[in-house]
Amino acid sequence: MNDPSRPLIIQGDLTVLVEVDHPRYADARECLAHCAELVKSPEHVHSWRITALSVWNTCAIGKDVSATLRMLAELSRFPLPETITVRLNEWAGRWGKLTLERSPLDDGLVLQCRDAALAGHIRTLPGIHHHLGEQLSACAIQVPLLERGKLKVALTRAGYPVDDRAGFTPGEALSLAMRKELPGGAPFALRDYQHAAVDAFLAGGSTRGGSGVLVLACGAGKTVIGLAAAAQVGAATLVLTTSTTAVRQWISEALDKTTLTPDQIGAFDGTVKDLRPVTVATYHILTHRDSATGGFPHLDLFQRRDWGLIIYDEVHQLPAPIFQVTAGVQARRRLGLTATLVREDQREAEVFALIGPKRYDSPWRELESQGWIASARCTEVRLPLTGAAFAAYCQADPRRKLRAAAENPAKLDAIRVLLARHPASPALVIGTYVDQLGAIADSLDLPLLTGSTPQPRRDALYADFRAGRIRALVVSKVANFAVDLPDAALAIEVSGSFGSRQEEAQRLGRLLRPKPGDNVAHFYTLVSADTIEQDFALNRQRFLCEQGYHYAIVDGIA
């Protein structure tokens, strides 16, 4: 059977292909959003993957897998592979066998097993026993409060997901609402998809909601969604993010978009340690320790207030110690925000068990087509590496070849040409090597912003950039994450961290906030032709190409 009127192609390895231009694409996406992970979304055919976690995600939000299977069969162009039915039923069958509930005596938690045999079996699984308390009955096992997270992670790894219905502590109440009008007088309201994301996270306030991950593109307003979730919860909120700059941006957004007052929100980072009803901290300060063997003095931040919600910004970067602490705060609502759930360290299972299931996912290009993020035109400019620079490249140690290629002097002229080509676009010149960036900044008489730039100086530069007093900023890797530069419409990438797809996506993300006028941003990546940098560039671009972005490739620049 090959029925082209159906949009799904389901393969035996549990990957699912969807034709984007198919008339029933919306139905297919709706079906897959509940039971599969979007792997990539290039221009014609999107790839999804059904995994145990994705099936448990389906179950966790109360969806019936048999209905999902019927839907898949109804949308599938070819007969369903037998493996799909078998694996989905097997995985779904695991969900609900173990339920974590609050003890009737409120002295801890109880793990309810569907049958006595399972209760006996899980005690025999490696790494489980020491998280369990005494046997309360044939099917009930006591679980110490502090073991809640660790037990969930261990059981998830063993293939037995836990339906955590122990609920959350309400947390310290906080009166907080989203503004309907911004301080400048402009009206403000959540976008439809932002509403949908918040609703998906809270699940109507039931025990099924309150923990999970929202996946949205850079520039889609994840900060606003986090604040809206905090407003709905109405409790003290701890926000964990990646850098001091990002802390400032969260605070700035909160004051701009919510009714929070400056005394209700504080920063907790390397320079300031304000513990307020809404506290924004960096992962770095939480995982800071004085010596390699010492403890983490700031990790008790999780316990220093009765938080009703913890927000994990850029959850795909969550460091290992935070996982450990998060395992101990399972009684609190947890919201993960990210542009991609793909983790280089393969710890998706921890994210699922400790933060929660994926609640919402929206492809970048859909947001772009709806005008919520800017349309980006990506161009790879290949520049010849000649003369002494080429000789240096040839003689460089293999480990230093990338840098030798990246520091191609021809890039300086190319930057000049590109800045002249887009005279009205606020621009970022982004790179990895500070020496190179310094030389560029000096030659073009542009301000340089690196990790060593003091925060007041950074804030001043950002302010000037926003106000248009500075045409372009030369920025190092500090600009990769959570820097809010609303007016940047042109980015010129002069060097990158090897083949990091994530870095490429984050750098493009700096441009995606909606632009006035044609809502178009330009992203140029300058690479030295026929060098190792060209190969790395290919790899770096893969994630964005998988998201449906095209790179035009040009040789040299006129």
Partner: protein
């Protein structure tokens, strides 16, 4: 023709013969000398006399004579019978009076005795005068069926053109992978026959025929047809060496790969028709003894194919022709199809001691030539899409072999015995050259999608032949997804594949994304950037001597410095370099 020449042509006949001829020509007072008699007879056949002699013949005799003089100059009874349906009754001669025909058929007597003699050859001196008097008889048209051939139980009509167009490149791609091997006789091994099943667009000719009523209970299996034909064609056309190791496509095969399917099929048919090293007759495996000494009795298969193809060019395309009718028509062709040049004493059925096909009546037209014709039509020309087929199961379909020695246990003499009729297709007319153009059907829309990230995804069923191509060029990721990868592209180029083939194939799905196109351009450039400079020989030399040798024009032109004390010379220049070094008073060890 001059009279003296005619007289000369009778000069070697005896006086008795000439007297008899003169008598038949109506002469009464005959001279006695042989020379005078020859003169008399010649004068009677010169000018008007010849016309009067022809006038005394009947229509069949005139037809026979006309065909003889306009063909090869002799009367061919088989040709007469098959071409015009004419059988000349031999003259019943009175041994005492050879000129007298007891049957009273004066014309035959004249024809046999006067014009052609006992050898059936027309007297050479009369050929031209007779040509002037007798027009060449037109060949009667081939009898074609009105509509489909007469229905028979179990008959199946097989339309071959579309199948051939869909299968050709797939087979070529399979050959390229090295999955096909041939035996010394040019036929595929059994594993190759199995491998090729994967690329067949439609089931084989007799696929499922064992389920037909009445076909069970036989011990003789039909066996594969197209799975044998395709590899044989690939080998016979020199598209693939069909041997182990390395890339299995020759430059001819590579060229065919680049052609549109209908052009490639035409090329294939042309090459196959000229291949002498593969004889399709070997596929009639019930006839044994074909190898060894038996092989000597066979004519050149290329000559046989040429005759069949020449005649097929005359068949009106699109009309069914019964095999029997075509066989008769073929027998009447100017060139006679002959499987064996001599009586095939080495050929036999089942057991040589029971008798062989060398005996009279055992190697007739129906046994050898018609069987060969069926092989060519069913196995090769149908595979190439030249002819459509109407077949019944072969068991008992052509029982004319039953009387042969050793045939008792055979349910059919050849697996092609079930061929009843065929029809030259439009594609066939193009392949045979009777038409200059062929309107190829538009290619099916590609189900492939090529993405800017280098992934290629199939949204429909990918034919195995396309899958072979994709697997050869790209990194397979899942059953329906591949990735374009520079390393894989370069490896494929090194294996001898042409990047343009992949580019053209992917372009069927739509314009290639810029990134993909550039990746291919880049791979092409990198593949061709480094070229083979030939092999060099390095040798150690003391540093000062190295300087001396490099500096001297006699040796310097051959030498390159590798290290301070190492020089290199091209292998091709080695002898000259040694000689030059010796001339300078030094020596190089061999």
């Amino acid at each position: 023709m001059s009279l003296p020449e005619l007289i000369d042509s009778f000069a070697l006949r005896t006086a008795k013969e000439l007297r008899s001829l003169a008598y038949m020509l109506g002469q009464k007072n005959l001279p006695t000398r042989q020379g005078d008699l020859a003169d008399l007879v010649a004068r009677q056949l010169h000018g008007d006399g010849l016309a009067q002699t022809i006038a005394r013949m009947n229509e069949s005799e005139r037809l026979a004579l006309a065909d003889a003089v306009h063909h090869k100059g002799y009367i061919d009874p088989v040709r007469l019978k098959s071409r015009f349906g004419v059988t000349l009754r031999p003259a019943e001669r009175d041994p005492r009076h050879p000129g007298v025909d007891r049957s009273g058929n004066d014309g035959v007597r004249l024809l046999v005795c006067v014009l052609i003699g006992d050898t059936r050859e027309v007297i050479p001196a009369l050929v031209e005068p007779l040509k002037a008097l007798l027009t060449a008889p037109p060949r009667p048209p081939l009898r074609c069926c009105d509509g489909d051939p007469p229905a028979e139980a179990g008959m199946r009509l097989i339309h071959t053109a579309t199948i051939a167009l869909r299968e050709f490149h797939g087979v070529l791609r399979l050959a390229e992978t090295g999955a096909l091997r041939c035996t010394d006789a040019g036929f595929p091994t059994s594993s190759s026959q199995r491998a090729i099943l994967a690329v067949l667009a439609e089931p084989d000719v007799y696929d499922g025929v064992a389920d037909l009523p009445g076909s069970g209970g036989t011990s003789q299996a039909i066996g594969p047809i197209r799975p044998v034909a395709w590899p044989t064609l690939m080998y016979a056309c020199s598209y693939s060496p069909m041997t182990a190791g390395g890339r299995q496509l020759t430059s001819e095969g590579t060229a065919a790969m680049a052609m549109p399917a209908h052009c490639a099929l035409r090329d294939c048919c042309e090459r196959w028709s000229k291949a002498s090293d593969v004889d399709e007759f070997r596929r009639i495996d019930a006839i044994k003894g074909q190898s060894g000494r038996g092989a000597d009795s066979f004519s050149d298969p290329a000559d046989r194919r040429a005759i069949i193809l020449d005649q097929l060019r005359l068949v009106p395309p699109g009309r069914w022709v019964a095999l029997a009718d075509f066989g008769r028509w073929l027998q009447g062709a100017d060139e006679r199809l002959r499987v064996c040049d001599a009586a095939p004493w080495e050929l036999y059925l089942s057991e040589k001691r029971y008798g062989n096909l060398g005996f009279n009546g055992s190697h007739g037209w129906e046994i050898l030539e018609m069987r060969y014709l069926a092989v060519v039509l069913v196995e090769y020309l149908a595979t190439l899409g030249v002819v459509d087929l109407a077949l019944v199961p072969p068991w008992g379909a052509a029982p004319d072999y039953r009387g042969l020695w050793g045939a008792d246990d055979l349910d059919f003499l050849s697996r092609y015995d079930g061929l009843r009729a065929f029809r030259v297709t439009d594609l066939g007319a193009y392949i045979l050259g009777s038409r200059d153009t062929f309107a190829a059907p538009p290619p099916a829309p590609s189900c492939l999608r090529v993405h800017a990230d280098g992934s290629v995804v199939a949204t429909g069923v990918v034919p195995v032949s396309d899958r072979i191509l994709l697997d050869g060029w790209l990194q397979s990721e899942t059953e329906r997804a591949w990735r374009i990868d520079r390393d894989r592209l370069l490896r494929a180029c090194e294996e001898g594949r042409r990047l343009d083939d992949l580019r053209g194939f992917l372009a069927q799905a739509g314009p290639l994304p810029d990134a993909v196109s550039r990746l291919m351009d880049d791979a092409q450039r990198r593949f061709t950037a480094i070229t083979d400079a030939g092999s060099w020989r390095a040798f150690h030399v003391p540093e000062e001597l190295a300087q001396l040798l490099l500096g001297d024009p006699r040796t310097g032109k051959y030498l390159r410095r590798l290290e301070k004390d190492q020089l290199a010379v091209r292998n091709a220049d080695w002898k000259a370099a040694r000689k030059a070094i010796r001339a300078m008073g030094w020596s190089c060890p061999e």
